[in-house]
């Protein structure tokens, strides 16, 4: 295996709780992501998958263990990282075009140049006619496209995605998944895609990492030997897909049950 772009070695993250204790979100997390690899993290809802992304992005420091990006310990936001959040994070007071141009502008690109680059991406995500619209005038799926363009315009080599399509309806979600695969193909970017939807994980990824119920750690890693380019709706129906699904689900099921039990105990 080549040098990983992302490597976690025994990474642990604890958050202080309101009552003075500490809540361990992830513990002793060890995993590697190679360049150009699409990795999906699945696990029960609320298990700490998002925390993993915050550690890699440098938004949160690890409490213990090491988080390395391109072999360097993460202390600030590493260069070349893109992050698509679960909730809408596009700026409501900016038009679609200016939202997408934000990244290059922040990175010191001139206004005209930034807008040119943004316009190209707006077109690439299929929003060409909507460049002047404000986010509130768009549907949920279109806002996701804006967020995708906003992230990709910076040409990240590491793309972190936190359940980006979970709020969408089923058809729109499938569309966006295909769109993501199409845009990602050939960029050589490593993707870490968090989801609680196993189907989504297998349809998109090269490798599925199953995480345990809270506090999360890696339970198992499963290769997805499906060919690319894939069409999400079609790949779902193949024999191979089902085989991988059964295998991963066997591992995940226990954790989901454990998380449910935990939730009912606490709640």
């Amino acid at each position: 295996m080549t040098d990983p772009v992302i490597e976690l070695r025994g990474a642990t993250k604890r958050f202080p709780t309101g009552t003075g204790g500490a809540h361990t979100a992830v513990r002793d997390l060890t995993m590697r992501v190679a360049a150009g690899e699409f990795v999906a993290l699945v696990g029960p809802t609320g298990c700490g998958k998002s925390t993993t992304l915050s550690l890699v992005s440098g938004l949160e420091p690890a409490s213990d263990g090491e988080v390395l990006v391109r072999g360097e310990p993460v202390r600030a936001i590493p260069p070349g990282v893109g992050y698509m959040f679960q909730n809408d994070a596009i700026l409501p007071w900016r038009s679609v075009l200016d939202n997408v141009a934000a990244g290059p502008r922040y990175r010191g690109v001139g206004k005209a140049e930034a807008r040119d680059r943004a316009a190209a991406w707006v077109e690439r995500v299929g929003l060409a006619g909507f460049a002047k619209y404000y986010p509130h005038q768009l549907s949920g799926g279109m806002r996701k496209r804006v967020a995708l363009a906003q992230t990709l315009v910076n040409e990240p080599q590491i793309l972190l995605m936190d359940e980006p399509f979970s709020a969408l309806d089923v058809q729109t979600r499938a569309l966006m998944q295909d769109e993501l695969l199409r845009l990602w193909a050939g960029t050589g970017a490593a993707v870490v895609f968090v989801t609680h939807d196993l189907e989504e994980a297998i349809a998109l990824a090269d490798k599925v990492v199953v995480m345990t119920a809270s506090p999360a750690t890696v339970k198992g890693v499963f290769a997805v030997p499906l060919e690319r380019p894939r069409t999400v709706e079609e790949v779902r129906l193949t024999e191979q897909f089902l085989r991988v699904y059964r295998e991963v689900w066997d591992s995940l099921r226990v954790e989901v049950a454990a998380a449910r039990e935990e939730a009912s105990r606490v709640g």
Binding site: S57, L59, I77, V81, G82, Y83, F85, N87, D88, A89, I90, L91, P92, W93, R94, A102, G103, Y106, R107, G126, F130, Y133, Y134, P135, H136, Q137, L138, S139, G141, M142, Q150, T151, N154, T172, L175
Partner: protein, 294 residues
Amino acid sequence: MSGEYTSTVDGAAAIAAEQRPAGVPNLVRRRRLRRGGVWAVRVAAVVAWLVSWQLTATYWIDPFYYSKPTAIAARLVDWFTKGTAFGSIWTQIAVTLEEAVFGFVIGAVAGVVLGIVLGRARFLADVAAPFIKAANAVPRIVLASLFIIWFGLGMSSKIATAMVLVFFAVFFNAFQGAREVDRNLVDNARILGASRLAVLRTIVVPSATSWIFASLHSAFGFALIGAVVGEFTGADKGLGLLINNAQGTFDSAGIYAGMIVVTVLALLAEWLISTAEKRLLRWRPPAAGADAQT
């Protein structure tokens, strides 16, 4: 893919307008009728109020104390045609407005800047919290007297009073607005490459703007109050002086007339601020029931 687009975009409204079913024009007419009705009742209420006042003041109560609409109207006409005891009414208006506007601008700028800075700097905010609470608890109108001693009878003492009143109104909203910035937006901007300053400029300030505008509406009213109270306390020009003089000469019509002029100024300012707000915040989705106020 196209289905995803057409359903939510503004164009949909235009399409809907073209294919109105037969019942819709009826709805529009009914809405118009309803608005007409609202206005009719408003006008009727004002007329009823003025007429009853006029009648009671003529036949029953003493107009010396309570004045009456015709006397107030006559006083207003008098002021605007012949001038007041202190010179042209326009001079008084100009002086009061100037004080209020200066106080408003200085107070608002100071409030916004300090509010946003403290809103983003947790440590400073914790240090400053008790002082701000105490300062807010001071009956600030009393400061008008102090400012007269400090700055004299001229304009600056009124500007100072107006400024203090405006500052606190704006400060608290700017502070809250800067605090409640969506964490997600800030994180996203940082990932996209924004420096701290860029986050402040492109995320914090725009998100706080709606909060700030909400306070600006009442803030100009406060500025006018500050200016008028300042003039009340001691001045040689201005609407507050006019009202104070009316009080000193038992001229109740003069007090009402002064009140009306100040009210009109406040309404005009409110209209200006609303217009500016609409322009600056046009990215906001139109609020449901936004026409309730018009």
